[in-house]
């Protein structure tokens, strides 16, 4: 097609409306290989996860799969205790997300809808806390949990996650709640509704889109955390998936099908959240940066 148009200038002019389509062809010719390159690492890991150990040992890790086996997954789940780790992660993530968003929405409600003195300073300080490098908190957080007697418990991990995440969610929800028109709330005030009722019956339902976006984001953040878990947990049975995976890697050094299976199992939950809530997820990412 390109040669044809190049030969006869008349065709070029006549096919002016073909232009976009030709550019579309170039576009796909560039993007399709690039996208494949992007997806390739995931495909290869999946391929390794479904191969048998003998196949990998005999033909090498980089060979095309010649076997199909679920041994990697079953070993990772049984001996590698990936199932238990996923359950731990689920507990921490669900409680952590709900608790953080609840507390953050309370603070955002107070700061955005009431004449709290120095509200701006408070809000920015809270956000700043979330931007701190976690490194500056690790050692004191570890010793605080020890002195409170909650070290090495999922509860400690949840509390730490809630404390560290609060600032960001409060900031985002504050921006959202402030955009609610005053008239909506004044009507409720006239009807004699108290703060708690306004919060629960009017403000919170109106914040549903923002809460959905933040929930999608917070789920992946808490589920994917490694450094806080390493900081406050020591017992293997309490490890969330990320720490368990690193252990698995140490325990099954050359069993690459087991390691790959574990990594795939750890990636599935966040991938599901992503595909189910892609719009919320993307708007969640933007809401913090786009202001």
């Amino acid at each position: 097609m390109t040669t044809e148009t190049a030969v006869d200038p008349g065709t070029v002019r006549r096919s002016a409306n073909v232009g976009p389509r030709r550019r579309g062809w170039v576009f796909h010719a560039c993007m399709a290989p690039l996208t494949l390159l992007w997806v390739a690492p995931m495909v290869f890991v999946l391929a390794v996860a479904f191969r048998s150990f003998d196949d990998i040992a005999a033909r090498g890790l980089g060979a095309l799969p010649a076997s199909f086996s679920l041994d990697g997954f079953s070993t990772a789940l049984s001996e590698g205790a990936i199932g238990r780790a996923l359950a731990n992660s689920a507990v921490v993530t669900v409680i952590g997300v709900v608790a953080t968003l609840f507390l953050a929405s309370l603070a955002a409600f107070a700061l955005s809808r009431h004449a709290i003195p120095f509200s701006r300073t408070i809000l920015l300080t809270m956000l700043a806390g979330n931007l701190l490098p976690p490194q500056i908190l690790l050692i004191p957080v570890s010793s605080i949990t020890q002195s409170l007697g909650i070290y090495d418990s999922l509860f400690a991990l949840i509390v730490v996650q809630v404390g560290f995440g609060l600032g960001f969610y409060t900031f985002v929800l504050h921006g959202f709640m402030r955009s609610i028109p005053n008239e909506v709330l004044e009507a409720a005030v006239v009807d004699g509704a108290g703060s708690a009722r306004i919060y629960a019956r009017i403000v919170l339902p109106l914040c549903r889109p923002a809460l959905a976006a933040l929930a999608a984001l917070a789920t992946t953040w808490i589920f994917n955390d490694l450094i806080w878990a390493l900081t406050v947990l020591r017992t293997e049975t309490k490890f969330p998936i990320t720490v368990a995976l690193l252990n698995l890697q140490g325990g099954f050094v050359s069993n690459w099908n087991v390691v790959a299976s574990g990594a795939v199992l750890a990636a599935i939950p966040t991938a599901v959240v992503f595909f189910a809530f892609q719009k919320h997820f993307v708007s969640g990412l933007l809401v913090g940066a786009n202001k």
């Binding site: 997806v39 107070a110 956000l127 979330n130 490194q135 730490v160 919060y199 994917n224 940066a289």
Partner: protein
Amino acid sequence: MSSTQVATPETSSHDGRQPVRAGRRWRRVPPLVWVFLLVPLAVELAWVFWPALNSFSLSLTKWNGVGAAEPVGLDNYRRMFDDPIVRTAVTNTVIWIVVFGGLSVLIGLGLAVALNRPRRGVGLYRSAIYLPMVFALAVTGLFWRVLYQPGGTVNSALENIGLDGVARQWLADPDTALYAVLVAAIWRQVGYIMVLYLAGLKGCDPSLEEAAAVDGASAWQRFRYVVFPQLRGVNTVVFAITVIDSLRTFDIVWAMTRGGPYNSSQLLSTYMFEQGFTALNLGYSSALAVVIFVLAIGFIITYLVRATRED
């Protein structure tokens, strides 16, 4: 500022009665609302700001976690100057910021421009490029560890295209370990940067670009002189986020190399963790954390200023 907050200096200066009214309104904040604010605030103070302050005082001590910390003044900071691993870690952190930031922004911005206009297939391409960013950094690290193994996919691919000489043990070679980790980190980050730039491009005024096109500007000129200047806000955010993220980077390095081999991929953050939780040099480790904080604070302020600018 929100309209409910009447206590702004501008309004109060016009009318003598306003400060009084403002004061009364402060008092009118119901007690329950104070609880709403103070409970989350207390949680954050206890679990973020109090520990952060503790790190500063710990950095002036020698402590192994048992017994009392022994005050040593600025010794920990002096020790860093003689510590060759700190020098490696600082160099690597700078390399990380430049390469991780530079490449993920170049690729992310390029993809955002390519995938900006709605056309067939764009959604699919976008999803494929977003997807890695939802994986944990630890999971990403493990993915790439599998790929980098001797005889693994990366080496086989290189051999298949005739680059046998290039194939090596990427993560076990001190010359390549850091860059091998960087490739994995960039692979994951590009989707995020692309999201930010796609939103920025959506906010650009299309009529400006059309006008430039009518005036005969080439595609590159339109991007460079018309579109790019409009992305200044996004650039600031991306810049601040990239540096803050780079200074925090820990998971992916820990999952892939633990800073090795021979500390060749050590970053300040991983060295801090190793000193604190493996070597139990808690004072020295805190001093390293303070250095990370000092490096980050300028960019944190940049982000905060930007985040509230439109108010």
